[in-house]
Symmetry: C3
Subunit: 183 residues, 3 copies
């Protein structure tokens, strides 16, 4: 039994890299946003996934607490796909606050990142999602906060934190780097 | 009810920016150093505010614990003005250690920062306070530690952390950025 | 009574700098790796020090817990020599996870670091130890993670965190900087 948490900002290529784990024997891939939405929609808090962001903080915390309980009960090798932090109008909201981490037995942390220019290029190419425009300077700031958060999560859990740089054109190499953590 | 904590190094322009909140309906602005001094002077630990720094660590912790209890009891929208960390001869002392954060229900964290050259210029222009001279290199180091601490505080509290860069000549814009967090 | 924790990556010159404390009245210098090995070899978990790294995570945590208990019982001025984090194939493993820090009453944290080029030069000159080759880029990343971890540890303990840059040729100055923390 293990719990690996894979973190990354939009445009880092996390989904592409995580696709390497699909079908891997004994690996249960869980998307944290999906889990939150599932819980919140069952409770009739939201109808659409976009509604999650607009929930009052107290309700969000309640949904987050239930998501943590659900994750704690999962068996096998769970791979949780979530954000290191989300850039909101009120600032960077940590994806793994202590209240959530305290419920989990994390064995491995992974941050998928990429050179700033690659993230900018991928975001502007992605027309399917209305992604917030972040300047290079603010992406750099977000990156620094994410590395610091990764360190915080690692110290909390006593788990190793791997940073994988997913440069443009190196998706296969990045996938191998991720897979090697499961050897 | 909410608790916003505003952090910043001397020369970042925190006081100027915070002045935007003076008189704002329902906002109680609390200076952490003033609160510490009030408690310490009632207990006869110190006579002058400068004495706070010279208190033995055990006494400082006692005063800090009482300050935390006092803050925890405050009602309404409290805005706490304090340091992310203080540069002391023994290193960077965190302004919000876990022992203090554990007493508070923090809803928003804000770090007011500025380009290093602006901080240097403001400090050398400020003759009214005997501010410690920090080289550009050590200011850069202090900044990195502060961003990391901000991430720690955010993960502890599960609260968003906003970084506002108060560049020279942009005080009005910075004030608007701070005020927008209270909308 | 005090507990100072001195952290640093291989090649930062930590051992050289720490030699300044040898023989200092009332200072008990404890190497965390030695302590771990002592405990693990008594329990027959390992025969050689290299075996520590290869222990299953659960056994490592058991040894770490015992090391924490042993440290908590030590009296006088303890100086603990350990790593901020270790670069492993699975990522950066924090040297002071919360489970360990929670047992200690830390009064001072010190990170001995050095310019990246000096670390690279020292590592390539050191033929006695089979040190992992880290590229400049990955050393920079490791440094950033270590500074963030230092901030985490400081916030957890409420203790000051000093960063001492041990540039090539400045060992005596660095020693004095370390000694000044004990004044």
């Amino acid at each position: 039994m293990s719990m690996t948490i894979v973190l990354g900002v939009p445009g880092a290529g996390k989904s592409t890299v995580l696709s390497a784990l699909k079908g891997k024997q004994g690996c249960a891939l869980v998307n944290y946003g999906d889990l939150m939405f599932e819980i919140a929609s069952k409770k009739k808090y939201v109808e659409h996934r976009d509604g999650l962001r607009k929930l009052p903080p107290a309700t969000q915390k309640k949904v987050q607490a239930e998501a943590g309980d659900a994750l704690a009960k999962m068996e096998g090798n769970v791979v949780l796909d979530t954000h290191c932090s989300i850039a909101t109008p009120k600032g960077y909201l940590p994806g793994l606050p202590f209240s959530l981490l305290g419920k989990l037995q994390v064995t491995q942390l992974v941050l998928i990142t990429a050179p700033i220019k690659d993230i900018v290029a991928r975001r502007s190419a992605d027309k399917t999602r209305a992604r917030d425009a972040e300047s290079e300077e603010s992406l750099r700031q977000h990156h620094d906060v994410n590395v610091a958060l990764l360190a915080v999560y690692a110290a909390f859990c006593g788990a190793p934190a791997k940073i994988i740089v997913n440069s443009q054109g190196n998706a296969e190499e990045t996938k191998r780097a991720l897979l090697s953590l499961f050897d």
